[in-house]
Symmetry: C2
Subunit: 429 residues, 2 copies
């Protein structure tokens, strides 16, 4: 708990109704199932429209200072005692005037800083919702396939809840992400292969008898997991005083985060909690040049995502075969947005730009987003006079290698006034 | 800003009254002065008793979800527009039943997790208050002497506020702490010497004409800086439902944090905001074996702190000549507490213990505190039946070297079911 908030007087009901196939529209009961038995398409949680409409701004404001304030819009955890949680969310929305000036935006610019979550990435949101659903389904062990941040979050949540965990990561991950996962004491399996290889292995393991009791947050309980990302959209709207910004710039790995922020905005409007902005909102996606299959499809004007073999420093975005890529494409096209990508040097510059102008130290994914923001302004894709929110999804300390050769002490001196003077710290020597 | 909270209807007055010498009791006006002109003793902020008594729990609860909710108890920043801040504070108070069981505590145990602050240490508290006071005094540049965390926080706050910064650090700091400071774009001066050497140099620089416009947060505005630590005590009491715990275990570098948490509890009682616990509270201090001058004085039964040359991995606690050591001794003796120290191996074990049982990854200072907690229970100094709060003041990602050789992947496999089976992940191979 963060602060002792009185429980709401009336219990909230679970607003979720069913799992619906994003491909063929088939419906299934709420259960640990992630693919459609008809067409093998991915499943998504659908809600009772009346349940969403019954949620009020006042009810949300009276909730805890974390994502569980949106329990009336989530598919699990309505009873606080059932939550598996480090209490993520309600991360800062930071006004970024200096960043706006540097990239050439004239309208208000905000950074939604999800490095402020308990394990310092937006993954705490999806994990908290997924593990709460998983425990309600009776799972007794938790697992994931991860590019690093997800493993951190699953292992930490498991430690807090006293659940055994086993996380699967590519063997070449940044050391920061491996150590901070292993320190929680669960099993950490390094897999010789890419994230896509790790993900495939987990898809096989989940079908074995030995893993019958195990919730893989991004495999068998994925529909519940993915819903946690919507809280980023809910928070942005609430923190802006219940408004939706005209433009959002979002990093893409699987593409799911982008689609869920867009879904959150749509739901808030349908629930009567916000009015849409004049002209609607526009959604922009960001990838790294080393792994840009979704951007490439948009630029080529096609619907099919051609998988790539990821390279480059933005490892948390290195999903070469992005599960939600086609839905991200659809959201960007529907809203009149765009996507861009940047190379490793631009990513490093983006990290430093964000640090210098906002006091936020982002991981490589945040550097991607900051750099893409600039590129979208320069290329005329982003309206410089429309309010914009950019998403920083992770913490610079986890990918310190990206900038450690570029920044360091600006001076080195002996501990004396004379040495300080000779180093130019007191004007001319 | 974190969330749009309506401003309180009535402006809060600054409750600070004067600077008072902790040595001889001389009083001075509120100004950037840190030492007594009579006896050279350190100065501390004193408050109007009536002002503190006018603060109510309801007023605090209506404030923002960060340390500025206690503006009525702070010496700066009553007008939100004047704050230089990343909005630190209101960090999680985590119930730690599994940790209690491992160390042999039967009563409730909590971890106050200040790694959740914006730059991931408790230093954001003191910096936010110090820089707010400094800007009100007209300073146009900010600086500090730092063991790392303070430099991070000063540089990040300066970047957010658009102020130039220059931070002074020992040249042998952990790489994580150097990079995350330098990324904000200010000057970073590596000094060939210990923290005490760095601190001495800053004490000389502050007297030069060239640094006349510069607020050294822990030198010339130190009395305001130190007051920020009290918010840790305020929060613990508020988060416990306006109660003071029977026992607190606090890491010591200068010793100031311990004295300020004790002062916060005393003030809350005087202000009528809480009742003291039956039998009062007891304050316990933690240091590392490589730098334990305050503990050594307590164990020797003397008042004078003999300076040491620090060694060991807990660099954020490595202050060999601790400015507030005698006041920490006095607080521990007055309340009937105790102090202990632990060696580097125990610190590493403490980090892993905390991670495994709470899902919190602490820096070395947190490992010190967790390990000292266990030692205090084992040696009978801590009452195992009295509610206890331990303070984690920093983030494990900043001192990853401490445990990187001890934890890592538990398995390494090729991406196939067969490899997973041979590695024992599916029972016997």
């Amino acid at each position: 708990m963060t602060v002792t908030t009185p429980a709401p007087a009336r219990a909230i009901d679970n607003p979720a109704r069913a799992l619906v196939c994003r491909g063929c529209g088939s419906e299934f009961p709420l259960a640990p199932q992630h693919a459609c038995w008809q067409c093998f398409g991915p499943l998504e949680v659908a809600y009772h429209p009346d349940a969403l409409r019954s949620v009020t701004r006042e009810q949300i404001a009276a909730g805890p200072p974390n994502l569980w304030r949106y329990a009336g819009l989530l598919p699990a955890g309505q009873d606080p005692a059932t939550r598996v949680t480090l209490d993520p969310g309600l991360t800062p929305l930071v006004r970024a005037d200096a960043l706006a000036a540097e990239v050439g935006l004239r309208a208000r610019l905000w950074v939604k800083d999800d490095s402020a979550n308990p394990t310092h990435s937006f993954k705490d949101r999806v994990v908290s919702v997924a593990l709460t659903a998983a425990r309600a389904f009776g799972f007794t062990r938790v697992a994931c396939a991860s590019t690093g941040n997800l493993a951190n979050s699953v292992a930490a949540h498991a430690a807090r809840a006293g659940l055994p965990s086993v996380v699967f990561i590519p063997a070449d991950l940044e050391p920061g992400k491996v150590v901070t996962t292993a320190v929680y004491g669960g099993d950490v399996v390094a897999v010789d292969g890419s994230y896509d290889d790790v993900n495939r292995l987990c898809g096989e393991l989940v079908e074995t008898d030995e893993f019958e009791d195990t919730a893989f947050v991004n495999v068998n309980v994925r529909p519940f997991y993915a819903e946690g990302s919507r809280t980023l959209g809910f928070e942005v709207a609430e923190q802006l005083g219940w408004r939706i910004p005209a433009q959002v710039v979002i990093p893409m790995a699987s593409g799911e985060l982008l689609t869920k922020v867009d879904k959150a905005f749509t739901e808030l409007v349908a629930a009567g909690l916000v009015e849409p902005p004049d002209g609607g909102w526009r959604v922009f996606g960001a990838q790294a040049a080393g792994c840009n299959p979704i951007v490439a499809a948009l630029h080529a004007g096609v619907d099919e995502i051609a998988p790539v073999k990821p390279t480059g420093i933005a490892k948390s975005l290195n999903i070469g075969d992005p599960a939600a890529g086609r839905y991200a494409l659809a959201a960007v096209r529907r809203t009149g947005g765009w996507m861009e990508y940047v190379d490793d040097d631009e990513i490093r510059d983006g990290i430093r730009l964000l640090g210098r102008t906002t006091g936020i130290f982002a991981e490589t994914a945040g550097g991607v987003t900051a750099a893409v923001l600039g590129k979208l302004v320069r290329t005329g894709r982003l309206d410089p006079d429309a309010e914009t929110v950019v998403f920083n999804t992770g913490e610079g300390l986890k990918t310190i290698e990206a900038v450690s050769s570029l920044v360091g002490p600006t001076h080195r001196v002996a501990p004396s006034l004379r040495a300080a003077r000779e180093a130019g710290l007191l004007g001319r020597a």
